[in-house]
Amino acid sequence: MLISIRELRKLYYVGTEEVRALDGIDLTVEAGELLAIMGPSGSGKSTLMNLLGCLDTPTSGDYVLNERQVSGLDDTALAGIRNSEIGFVFQTFNLLPRTTALENVELPLIYGRMPRRERKRKAREALEKVGLGDRIRHQPNELSGGQRQRVAIARALVNEPSILLADEPTGNLDSRTSEEIMSLFASLNGAGNTIVLVTHEESIAERARRIVRLLDGRVVEDVQVTAKGSGR
């Protein structure tokens, strides 16, 4: 069991009003899964993603990642987990501007204190893996949207994390490029990577093998997808 979540809650206060972004979530994710989290805006899927990615801490509940209790860890420890256990892919790519693809991919390795030579080699390998071996010296503004997202995926993969978290990874891409990126996710999943993606597009979710639907901070449906286009 890679991820085990019990009774996870996250409360916000907007003024004096309490907002239950997550209202008792139970969820387990096995290694090698390709899981889609769906739900309308305000359903809590982004909050769940942030908690899964250790960018945020829950108000209450347990989060065990890779047999390690994560809820209650301090800032520095969480940074370490984000660095070694988690790879992020964002809707807006979030690459550093005026920085080459190679340097962007190196970033997690820098914070992992990897020696320079080894770092360069691993970053180059990661870019080759996503099909950008010939674009390593390009800066984000010299790359297409699909290529930028590939760089982001390479960056997420380079530290060999336990889990890849993708938040609307195709939200800013046209349908053909979206298809390419989803195929890349599928092949990475096939190679053994655990992937959790957040999306509100059914067509994207259907590429997953399991769909979790949220509404008002609760899990309302958790189904295995047996074949493309059909539930249950």
């Binding site: 990615g53 800032d75 940074a79 370490g80 979030n94 005026r98 914070y111």
Partner: protein, 404 residues
């Protein structure tokens, strides 16, 4: 990691060249002022110190005290005489040499050439007292002084001004209205503070008295040399005692002469330079403060501009301390670049400043001043970079990633 941060810092600074230069202007001006002032003050100190060492700590000068506001001294004709000097020597145990000095401006002639120079009437121990020695020929002998001989010693400048040629010794020159035979050339002393110290003519004090009469008596200055630096204070007391008695100064009345020790001259110049340094130091402090605020301001702008970058870095595993160090290094790098330009600018300024003052010996930039300049710059970077860096490191990664 430090190297990575340095690379990031340089990249960020390069990305905003103009802004960075303007930001560091305060630091540049502050550090340049430090270096320029230190270099000029050090140059002055260096010269004064070597001058004083040349004359020596045992040098004592006695000059008439003129104070028209003092009822005891006003209207009194004050004279220090050769005999005063001899009497001091006779009664003092702490003094080694005595040299009476009469000086005035005087015209000198040789053939068709004429020149206005400084004429000094001196005693036989001029060389020992002033540590200024004859270079070619000979100094005055006891006999020259006794016989009121019409002989003179000249500085290098006189040779060229009067066109005395390769062999000036033995030639006769006209000083004022009298003819003098050149018997020696004084060693070269060079220029100081716009004054050519090789532009002088020395004649025996006795001869000067013959020619200038009462004037030579009135304008006399008595120079002494103590036996050792330890005996200088004793010598001063003895001189004062003898002169008060000879000048019939009643108890409680003021001296009509002043005894100046080399040490006191040193202290006076030192305190003037110290004041200059303090004033400039205050100005520099303000410049560095303003420069520091400039750095802080631009770093705060930079942190805001790069909020998203900070979010990205945190998402991929940067710790708070990583972000803190990154922005701190950027601030320090920025101010050190300012420091570098400041040191170079100040150096050039010091050299130019020294060139503007005629006869100034040249700026002297000690290594410690350079380190001081860089140290100040780095300190300003750390002090004023800490707040923006802390602000950056405390950013919430989720908020930062959402920042547009």
């Amino acid at each position: 990691m430090i190297l990575e941060n340095l690379r990031i810092a340089l990249k960020a600074i390069r990305a905003n060249k103009m802004r960075s230069v303007l930001t560091t202007l305060g630091i540049i001006i502050g550090v340049a002022a430090v270096i320029a002032v230190v270099s000029i003050v050090q140059g002055l100190n260096f010269v004064i110190a070597s001058e004083l060492q040349g004359v020596g700590a045992t040098f004592i000068r006695v000059a008439p005290e003129r104070d028209f506001n003092d009822p005891d001294l006003a209207g009194k004709e004050i004279t220090l005489t050769y005999e005063d000097g001899l009497a001091v020597m006779a009664h003092s145990t702490a003094l080694k040499y005595f040299n009476p000095v009469f000086f005035r401006s005087e015209r000198v002639y040789y053939g068709d050439n004429k020149h206005t120079s400084t004429l000094l009437g001196v005693g036989p121990y001029h060389q020992e007292v002033n540590n200024h020695w004859v270079d070619m020929g000979r100094f005055f002998s006891e006999l020259d002084i006794e016989r009121h001989a019409r002989v003179c010693l000249i500085g290098r400048k006189i040779i060229s001004e009067l066109g005395l040629g390769e062999r000036p010794i033995g030639k006769d020159i006209i000083v004022g209205n009298a003819s003098f035979t050149v018997v020696g050339i004084m060693e070269k002393k060079g220029e100081m503070f716009g004054q050519d110290r090789d532009d002088l003519v020395l004649i025996p004090i006795t001869t000067a008295r013959d020619i200038y009469g009462r004037e030579a008596l009135k304008q006399l200055i008595l120079d002494f040399k103590a036996k050792s630096p330890a005996e200088v204070d004793l010598a001063k007391d003895q001189i004062t005692q003898v002169l008060r008695r000879r000048h019939h100064i009643a108890e409680g009345k003021k001296n009509d002469f002043q005894v100046v020790l080399q040490e006191e001259i040193l202290k006076t110049t030192g305190s003037i330079l110290g004041t200059v340094t303090q004033v400039v130091g205050a100005v520099v402090g303000i410049a560095l403060l303003v420069g520091g605020i400039g750095i802080m301001n631009i770093m705060l702008v930079s942190v805001t501009e790069r909020t998203r970058e900070i979010g990205i870095r945190k998402a991929v595993g940067a710790r708070r301390s990583d972000i803190l160090v990154q922005f701190l290094i950027e601030a320090v790098t920025l101010s050190l670049i300012g420091g570098l330009f400041g040191v170079l600018g100040g150096w050039v300024l010091g050299i130019l400043g020294a060139k503007m003052i005629p006869g100034f010996p040249g700026a002297h930039v000690p290594a410690w001043a350079v380190f001081l300049g860089f140290g100040f710059a780095a300190l300003v970077g750390v002090v004023f970079g800490t707040y923006p860096a802390a602000k950056a490191s405390a950013l919430d990664p989720i908020e930062a990633l959402r920042y547009e």
